[in-house]
Every structure is written in structure tokens, then in C-alpha cells.
Amino acid sequence: MNRMRTEIAPRVAVLQLPGVNCEYETRAVLRMAGLDAEVFRWNLPARDLESFDAYVIPGGFSYEDRIRAGAVAAKAGALDVVGRAAEAGKPVLGVCNGAQILVEAGLVPGRTPGRVELALAPNRGGWRGYYCNWVYVKVHKEGRDTVFTSRFEDGELVPVPVAHAEGRFTVRDGAAFREWADAGQVPLRYVSPEGDEEPGFPHNPNRSLLGAAGVTNPAGNVLAFMPHPERAAWLRQVPVSTAGPWGDRRREAVRDREALEGPGPGFKIFQSLRDFLRWDAQQTREER
């Protein structure tokens, strides 16, 4: 069949670095969102990455978190390609360890692309070491959409799981971080189940600055997100004990297989990415 260009799904590379462990469920969620996702091994020729429309660096423990989480993977040749693609405007999502890699590679906050301007430091504030739980993040649009948050309402509460030991967004110059937040570069922040801002532990699981859970580059096409949206992509993944509307929906869906297979709270991140890639493809076609 001679398929029209409009029917071809955008291609997304899920970068498989040694030690990551969420690549296959991430690929599954991207495919559910209608994207042509494939796992790309880090030791394939890095130039083969150039043909992809977007990149996801999944969670796990690349290089066993040696030296610092993400520090070694950030130096991999594949990150050169991803960095150049990000500067050209292609979407890049880093989840958990992927977020740590983007921070160590200087893609986020990306005020000077490639410079290390931020850290994901060891958890502090009530818990030291690895922490795993469901938390709430609140969407802060600050008057603009990013590639990954367009499907959310401003102020929307999103239950999502975290699982990390080094997830504290921190920076030497706290005033700079607030400027980035005011400019919309901190669109996802930990809150209490009631939506209270800048909560303590356990709602902010690591004492992250301003409760930051996700930080973008200035253009909003690169997101470093510590929670795992791919583990909250189907309603069945949401615990029945969850407070709020998502918990109500989950409890109502008990024994309703069709409803349980429906989208969960984290799926909008991938839908937002799909929307952007389709819009971008449309723009490219129109320019031709």
C-alpha cells in the first residue's frame, strides 16, 4: 500500500544505555500514544540516532550510578547527537536516570547548552538514600506550554510514582533557579495531595528546590523529569488508595477491564509529545 506521509508515525528512539531498566515499558507507552518507538542500543553508531524525530532516555541505573548518577552516560557519544538534536528543537525526555543524564550533559536547564548548570543530588530532608512511593506533581504553565505539558491544565494535579536516591534538583545559585521557574522552566512540581506548594517530606520526597520534579530547557523541548510517567500510563497502574479524582476513577474501575486499560495520569506527557510531533510534521509539510 502506498501510505501517505501523513499516516507515518513520528519515530522516537528510546536510548538503551548499560544499566537502564525501563526501556521496554517506555517503548510500550510511546507506542500506545501512536508513536513509532524503538529501543536504540548505546553502542550502535551514534549517527544512526540522527534520523529520529524525538528521544527518550529511560530510567534505571546507567553505569551503575558510578561517580554520580548520570555522570558517565552524559559523556557517551550518543549524547552528542541528542544534544545537537535538542539544540535543533527536537524533543528529548529524560525520566529518572534519564533526567540525571540530561542534567549532567548540560541539556537541562540549558541556559548555556552543554554547560553543567544544575545537579540532581542525593535525597535529603526526611529521607536519605533510595525512596520509592507515589507522589503528586502540579502543572505550572507560567503562561506557556512545553512539548510535554500541553495536554495538562494549568494547576492540574498528577499522581505519579518516584523511585530514586539522587533526585534533588539543586543549584549553587538559588536565585537563578527561581528565575528559571518564573520563566516556565519548572513546569512540574511536587505538592501535597491537596495541592499545597513546596511541601516537606514525603510529598517532596527529596527536598528538591521549589519542589521541582521536572525541569526543562528554555525552549521547552527538553524535559528532565524524576518521577516515572510510564508507570502511571494506564489506569490499572494507579493504586486504589490514591487520593483525589484519579483515585476515584481507579476505585470505580475495579473489575472493569476496559476502564483499567484506559489512560492513567502520566499518559498525557506522551500524548503531549505525540501532539507536538504531529504538529511539527504538519508544519514541515506545509513549508515544503
Partner: protein, 190 residues
């Protein structure tokens, strides 16, 4: 007058984190054979408010007889007190620490009563032990370049957004290490 001491702990077998650092420096950051080898020790910095008789023996007991700081099956340990230097491998050394790291260990040592005289402070750090090729000046410059991750293509061992680092061209003394690691928020790379 306070007293400073350091327990230095390293693996009996090859340290995989040090090997990964060496490989990353030689290949990804393209230092090649200019970085001959990398080793690594973990440091436990102890401060007492007053001088302690037998501090060295006391800390050896803490390190060897309890499993809180070292496991004799896999670690080697040395203790240095005051102006005594530690004896690391390599020819230039990068001390990396996060201010405040080690407070949990300090609380545990106090709570469990593991030292006859409870220390005022215990903090942790890492000592990177680099064997670099070149003249002493080149070695020092290269160690500074390696010490701090400044960009995707330069530096590795410390992220100054939350860590601190200092390069030593001679094996540091216990007092030098402890004064850096326990200082209030100050030092950048020297």
C-alpha cells in the same frame, strides 16, 4: 583546641567505580594514556572538640571492629591523625565532598556509643587517586581539568552545583582534609 582525624577506606579488589572513571577519562574525554590510572578511597573525617589520647587506636577500633565503617572481608583501612598525611596511590589527588554528608553516620556513632569520647562531627568524602603522565605542573593542571564536570565534554569527578572539590599535589594530611570537608560552605576548586 580541636583534633582532626581521617579514616581512609579502600577496596582490596579492583574498584569498579575507579575503573569506570578511568575508562571515561581515557576514552570519552579523550585523555588516552595521559591518564594512566585512577583509584579511589572513601574518607571518614572525625572532629573532636578536645585532643584525644589514643585517637588513632580508637578510630582503628571503630573502623575494624565494628562493621559500620568497613567490612574486613573487602576493605583495607588506614587512620591518619592531625598533621599525618594519608598514603594514597597515584601522583595527584582530588578530594570531593558534599557539605553535610556524613551527618547520619555521626548520629549513628553517637547513638550506638561506638567511641568512648563522642566526636563533635563526622563527615564523609571521596579521595580520587590519579596517576597522570606529565610534568608536575601539567599533572596539576590536568587534575583540575578532570576534577570538575563543567560541560558534556569536560570534567568528571565533581558537580559543583552541590559538591566541592580540591586538588592536592602532595598527599593531604588529616587536618587538611578535615578542615576542607567540615568547613562551612566555602571552597571551590583550588
Amino acid at each position: 583546641m580541636s583534633q582532626h582525624a581521617v579514616i581512609r577506606r579502600w577496596l582490596k579488589v579492583a574498584d569498579p567505580t575507579a575503573i569506570t572513571a578511568r575508562e571515561t577519562l581515557q576514552r570519552a574525554l579523550q585523555f588516552g594514556r595521559r591518564v594512566e590510572d585512577v583509584e579511589r578511597s572513601e574518607l571518614f573525617c572525625v572532629v573532636w572538640d578536645t585532643p584525644q589520647q589514643g585517637a588513632e587506636a580508637m578510630l582503628e577500633g571503630l573502623a575494624v571492629e565494628t562493621t559500620l565503617i568497613s567490612n574486613p572481608n573487602k576493605h583495607r583501612v588506614e587512620v591518619a591523625v592531625g598533621g599525618d598525611a594519608v598514603h594514597p596511590r597515584g601522583n595527584v589527588w582530588v578530594l570531593v565532598w558534599e557539605p553535610g554528608d556524613g551527618a547520619g553516620l555521626e548520629a549513628a556513632v553517637r547513638r550506638l556509643g561506638l567511641l568512648a569520647e563522642p566526636p563533635a562531627r563526622i563527615r564523609q568524602a571521596v579521595l580520587w587517586e590519579l596517576a597522570l603522565d606529565g610534568s608536575p605542573a601539567e599533572v596539576a593542571d590536568r587534575a583540575r581539568e578532570i576534577a570538575v564536570a563543567r560541560s558534556r565534554t569536560s570534567g568528571l569527578l565533581a558537580n559543583l552545583q552541590y559538591q566541592r572539590a580540591e586538588v592536592f599535589t602532595r598527599p593531604p594530611t588529616a587536618s587538611q582534609i578535615v578542615s576542607r570537608v567540615t568547613a562551612p560552605e566555602t571552597t571551590e576548586v583550588a
